[in-house]
């Protein structure tokens, strides 16, 4: 093989932490290289039947062995080609139930691994993706032969990545999930326990969060005072055995299952609020369906999706929809409203367009921003522009620019000032929006797009556009 410029393979910048292997791309295809240091664990993972069991059960992403010569760096022991997922999302974009399902998946994988004498050597929430509506582990390289007489090394990471945010979302506020943006290795346990209400000190969260935070604090103090020599923990008596591992896992599972997010009734009424008549709703639906059919494509971003009325319409055979909304409670409601079949084609995610998911982690390369994961084939922005322009003071040219980065084609709705919903936005403030008009919007769009279709919504003041981005 002659590794030319195009086919030499590029190592994924997010996979630098694990000495056991790395992800790379060659000719657009995703691969995982496994280094000699991890080769024995990998053999055990396959020889003991654990890999086949997990892939067969849909808990781990499937993969195929390929030639080791594909590795861009010398010295790899083997290379596999994992099935690539069409959508990548991050834990800070998940609703409560999505994170909870990812936590239970991680525990189920660990349970099965223990049965095979192995365990997860990390329990990062970033190792899980939502694939066709179900959580799935994407890190095939997370397994190692377990020393069952020693504690599980990923216990703390599980508590920080899953249990802590879930507890805060359930017991404080679903918006606490957004804290995962700031704390990329999971929520600090001391912060979590400081924020949790006192009643959580009774029950399953006591050992795994409250006592855990205390133990961490004492250990840190001891380290600072030099009370524990390096390796002290390891040299202690072997404190664990198989039963104790299973008991710990069982307790974690009960703690996660004991967490539930209760949404007040005001959410349920809020989300169905619309101002237009039945005729207008029918007309809008018909136009959206027609425009989506004209637009084609397979990946649709529904921006400002609310509980996903139009995402669910847009999702169909061969179409995947990501339904973004800024409100974690609304995203939770949307997720709960979907049947398993619908979940296969609609993924509700938390994202605030006025402050979308940024690029995060080391050198901004570990987690990609929302727009870096685009553009979608079609971006849909229904009943959104007035929220951006009037609710958030974003000038229309900048709204058009954002849409141009979100989708190659765009279905967008313009709601004029006279509409009752805009009147509501203006009710409490001075109208400084002289530049907000249908004509001004057309001009703003023209900078970036060719208009393929424009249609007024019957029995309303609204207009829908189908746009195609101009070539750069």
């Amino acid at each position: 093989m002659t590794p030319g410029e195009a086919s030499s393979g590029v190592v994924d910048p997010a996979s630098f932490r694990d000495p056991g292997g790395y992800i790379f791309r060659r000719d657009g295809v995703l691969y995982r290289a496994i280094q000699p240091v991890a080769a024995a664990d990998w053999s055990a993972f396959e020889d003991r039947g654990l890999a086949a069991e997990l892939v067969g059960a849909g808990l781990l992403v499937g993969y195929a062995p390929v030639s080791v010569d594909l590795a861009p760096r010398p010295g790899a022991a083997l290379v596999i080609r994992p099935r690539e997922l069409p959508i990548i999302s991050y834990p800070y974009e998940w609703a409560f139930s999505q994170l909870r399902e990812a936590a239970l998946l991680t525990l189920e994988v660990q349970r099965r691994a223990l049965s095979a004498g192995m365990w997860l050597r990390d329990a990062s929430a970033y190792n899980v993706q939502v694939d066709a509506g179900r959580p799935i582990l994407i890190d095939s390289l997370s397994f190692e032969v377990a020393d069952l007489s020693a504690p599980w090394p990923a216990y703390r990471q599980f508590c920080k990545h899953f249990l802590a945010p879930l507890a805060l979302m359930a017991h404080r506020d679903p918006r606490c999930g957004l804290m995962l943006r700031d704390f990329i290795d999971g929520l600090p346990l001391d912060l979590t326990t400081a924020l949790l209400p006192g009643r959580t000190r009774i029950g399953g969260l006591l050992p795994h969060l409250h006592l855990h935070a205390g133990a961490d604090r004492r250990a840190q103090r001891a380290e600072i005072q030099g009370a524990s020599e390096p390796g002290a923990t390891q040299s202690r008596a072997r404190p664990m055995n198989r039963t104790r591992h299973e008991a710990l896992l069982d307790s974690l599972r009960r703690a996660v299952e004991g967490l539930n997010l209760e949404l007040g009734s005001h959410w349920l009424s809020y989300t169905r609020q619309t101002s237009y008549t039945e005729a207008a709703a029918a007309s809008k639906r018909e136009i959206v369906e027609r425009m989506l059919a004209q637009a084609g494509g397979t990946l649709i971003w529904d921006l400002g999706a609310n509980v996903g009325t139009y995402s669910d319409i847009a999702a169909g055979p061969g179409r995947q929809v990501i339904a973004f909304d800024q409100d974690p409670a609304v995203v939770e409601l949307h997720w709960r409203s979907l049947s398993p079949e619908q979940r296969a084609s609609v993924l509700p995610l938390v994202n605030d367009l006025t402050n979308p998911s940024p690029a995060l982690g080391w050198a901004h390369t570990e987690r990609r921003s929302m727009l870096q994961r685009g553009p979608a084939d079609v971006a849909m922005a229904l009943a959104l522009v007035h929220h951006l322009a009037i609710g958030n003071n974003v000038p229309l040219p900048q709204v058009a620019e954002l849409l141009a980065h979100a989708g190659r084609r765009v279905v967008v709705e313009f709601v004029p000032k006279e509409d009752p919903m805009v009147q509501q936005l203006l009710a409490g403030r001075r109208d400084i929006f002289d530049a907000y008009s249908l004509d001004a919007f057309r001009t703003a769009l023209d900078e970036w797009f060719v208009t393929m279709d424009e249609a007024p919504v019957t029995d309303s003041l609204r207009t829908l556009f189908l746009l195609e981005r101009r070539p750069d």
Binding site: D41, S149, P151, P153, Y155, D216, A219, A232, R244, D250
Partner: protein, 66 residues
């Protein structure tokens, strides 16, 4: 520690884990054995977590869980 462990498990976390796992094992075994026995007595289908002897009589160094 395994040779390629690359996350810091936290020394406090490890100690706490060992302590609470030892405590949790007692009710855990109780549930599995008594619960399994109870279900058999009532003729219910065996719950998934019910014990197999191999699992309960753990071969770990600390067999004083019972």
């Amino acid at each position: 520690m395994p040779p390629i462990a690359y996350i810091d498990p936290g020394s406090g976390s490890l100690l706490l884990q060992a302590l609470i796992a030892a405590l949790l094992a007692v009710p855990f075994i109780f549930r599995r054995t008594i619960g399994g026995f109870w279900h058999r007595l009532r003729g219910d289908a065996e719950p998934e977590e019910s014990a197999s002897a191999e699992v309960v009589s753990s071969d770990g160094p600390n067999t004083s869980d019972h």
